[in-house]
């Protein structure tokens, strides 16, 4: 591994200053992706900036009016064991708690999962269907971006040089809202998603029709993929096996998978429909509960 400097700033301001310095700087949250990448020379670093002492990046709050705020350096274990998160955002937990086994959970962060920008990232489809927002700070000030716009390619994000992801916010769930994320892996743990699917639905008060819906897929395109046509199709339609199957078909049609070591494109297309259907079914169950 190439040598680098290590910094552990305790304010966002200092962090931005360090990021803006010469050469390559890499923010370190959980490090579960970064360290292997540094070790294998896949990411250059002159400075590693540890984010774990920056208050803004480590905040985890829930407010019924404003929703959930997840600092970018909050570990998945903390997020997934937070009572408010468990109660109000089980769909977010679905995505975050399958990132690695428990050792990884204690270190890995949702912010890191976003910034690593893997097409197969587990937390991102769930955040997309929750209409989560990325909060970004940088030399030019703060800005926000919908989660679905944050990843722009495998390993590439919309962050400009010197910018950092501060947090992800998730709006408070509407009444009769339910969401679910699931993925397919050949084992039962310690795998990268062959395909992941997230669905969020808002049902009419009687639970029989969709008011709104969002569907997102992982590992079937260069970035986690929002499938607007699936959600648009469901809005206003009854909750039936047929409408769910049609939404699943639309998601499958939107998938643009490739063959790789983890699965063939054909298998991924097949799974896109199966998992979308299952994600919708479970999201409906949750919305009705």
């Amino acid at each position: 591994m190439r040598a680098f400097e290590y910094h552990s700033p305790d304010s966002l301001e200092q962090t931005l200053t360090l990021l803006a310095g010469p050469g390559q700087a890499q923010p370190l949250a959980g490090g579960t992706d970064l360290l292997p990448q540094l070790r294998e020379g896949r990411r250059p670093a002159d400075r590693v900036i540890d984010l774990k002492r920056v208050p803004e990046l480590n905040a985890l709050t829930y407010d019924p009016a404003r929703g959930l705020w997840v600092g970018a350096a909050v570990a998945c274990y903390r997020l997934c064991h937070d009572p408010a998160v468990i109660q109000h955002y089980p769909g977010v937990v679905d995505g975050a708690h399958v990132i690695g086994a428990v050792q990884i959970q204690f270190r890995a962060t949702v912010g890191g999962n976003l910034c690593n920008a893997s097409p197969a990232a587990d937390s991102i489809p769930a955040l997309i269907v929750h209409t989560a927002v990325c909060h970004i700070a940088g030399p030019a000030g703060a800005r926000t971006l919908p989660v679905e716009a944050f990843c722009v390619g495998p390993g590439r994000t919309a962050l400009a040089p010197g910018e950092i992801l501060v947090a992800v916010s998730v709006p408070p769930p509407a009444p009769h809202f339910g969401a679910h994320y699931l993925r397919f892996i050949p084992r039962n743990e310690m795998d990268i998603a062959v395909v992941g699917a997230a669905a969020a639905v808002t049902l009419a008060a009687d639970g029989r029709s969709f008011v709104a819906a969002r569907v997102a897929l992982g590992a079937v395109a260069a970035t986690p993929l929002l499938v607007p046509e699936a959600g648009a199709y469901l809005a206003g339609r009854p909750v039936t096996a047929e409408t769910i199957a049609e939404a699943a078909r639309l998601a499958q049609a939107a998938a643009r998978p490739i063959d790789d070591v983890r699965g063939t494109a054909a298998f991924r297309r097949h799974l896109s429909a199966v998992l979308t259907r299952r994600a919708l079914e479970r999201a409906v169950e949750r919305a009705r509960a």
Binding site: L35, R107, N188
Partner: protein
């Protein structure tokens, strides 16, 4: 060699100081600098759990932590699990249940299982399997390991 950083930590109950390069992992420093070789390198990639240690009670792969990150933290390694003059119930039950063959993954399993029992004193078989899913064992098929952890939980209750 780049500049060395001075790190102070509490390791297995004792104050410890060491010098390290920023690029050195906690695993490398434990094994090469501090001479604690109980944590093993199986993959150096966070996929096998052989290097498990506890940082402030949280279970982590020491290969995925920079040594400089543990400044001011409290570390527990396999060498610090047993009470003075004895064995931890997990260690005893691993022996009783023949829960090891080659023994290379064993420290990682015991450290992980301790982290589980510290939080969930009476886990179900499924909870044990979920908690240990980041630890690879190639010798046993896991049966005896899971039984040993359940037995240790039982022992701690009685």
């Amino acid at each position: 060699m780049s500049a060395m950083t001075h790190v102070q930590t509490t390791l297995n109950g004792e104050a410890v100081e060491f010098l390290c390069e920023p690029r050195q992992s906690l695993l490398e420093v434990l094994r090469e600098t501090l001479g604690l070789t109980g944590a093993k390198e199986g993959c150096n990639n966070g996929n096998c759990g052989a290097c498990n240690v506890l940082i402030d009670g949280a279970l982590v792969n020491a290969c995925l932590v920079l040594a400089v990150e543990v400044q001011g933290r409290t570390l527990t390694t396999i060498e610090g699990i047993a009470p003075p003059g004895g064995l931890h119930p997990l260690q005893r039950q691993f022996l009783e249940h023949a829960a090891l063959q080659c023994g290379f993954c064993t420290p990682g399993f015991i450290v992980a299982a301790k982290a589980l029992l510290d939080r969930t004193p009476r886990p179900s078989e499924l909870e044990v399997r979920q908690w240990l899913a980041g630890n690879l064992c190639r010798c046993t098929g896991y049966d005896r390991i899971v039984r040993a952890v359940l037995a240790a939980a039982e022992e701690a209750q009685t």
